[in-house]
Symmetry: C2
Subunit: 134 residues, 2 copies
DNA sequence: ATTAATTGTAATAATAAATATTACATTACA
DNA sequence: TGTAATGTAATATTTATTATTACAATTAAT
């Protein structure tokens, strides 16, 4: 996987603990990645209605609802890209009895694991996560 | 993540359902990836004592113990590389109160989720997985 | 003994994915 | 009107993954 979940969590934690809007440049400075990457992730988080923005001078970003109403599962779902257990890009040989069926069975397993993980992540709110930073 | 778990599962399923040793070239043909990639993964699975090899002509690979004694968690642990929830390669700004602590808290979360996932994968044996292919 | 099929592994190349950079249009406050 | 910010496209760079080539070592079969 890539660094999107850690970066999204960093963003959400910053916004959760801030008492005013934060700029993408400020957040990029805390995360220490390129500001455009942060803005892309902010765009995505807006699309998933987790945050909102204020444009123009003195603009910035803020949470779209109370942190107690945002679960880590929601954040994960906003950034998830591909399978938890990995995604091979091969196309197994359909002439082989195993190759013909393996993807279907792996997909079932993947769905099962992902649901387990979402249940677990759903147990923690952003508010609870941010309490650790006191 | 990458395709190592799917490929390892494909290998283990082939070996589980075979009644003789299988060559890396045969398995590469079923998986449809480069034979050297398969041999590298086979090497790794040997290192984790999940399979063993017979060298020389007519050689090949076979399971190292009954499929009922191999769990999907064991296979996952043999191939896992990095964090389930993603690994950012940035170094957060230590001058920021959030940046200073975020990695510690994300690592705790990661460990928690990974344990949940291993518990779930531990519930299924390779033998049970392979029964689906009848 | 010799041959051939195979494991095992190193070195390199090619491809794909992630991240960084540059640029600039748009917005809204002061 | 100037300025600080969002929003986004285009491109470049870096990193990770997969493929390829090559060949030494091993062992069964002839």
């Amino acid at each position: 996987m890539n660094g999107r979940f850690p970066i999204a969590m960093h963003i959400m934690t910053l916004l959760c603990t801030a008492d005013e809007v934060l700029s993408s440049d400020y957040m990029a400075g805390s995360i220490n990645v390129n500001p455009v990457l942060v803005r892309k992730e902010l765009s995505n988080l807006i699309k998933h209605r987790l945050i909102k923005s204020q444009q123009g001078k003195n603009g910035g970003y803020l949470l779209n609802r109370p942190a107690a109403d945002i679960s880590l599962a929601g954040i994960y779902q906003a950034v998830r890209s591909g399978a938890i257990l990995g995604q091979a890009k091969n196309q197994p040989n359909p002439a082989c009895p195993i190759g013909r069926q393996i993807n279907a069975h792996l997909n079932t397993l993947e769905a099962d694991i992902e649901q387990t993980m979402l249940n677990k992540l759903g147990n923690t709110t952003l508010a609870a996560f941010c309490k650790k930073f006191e």
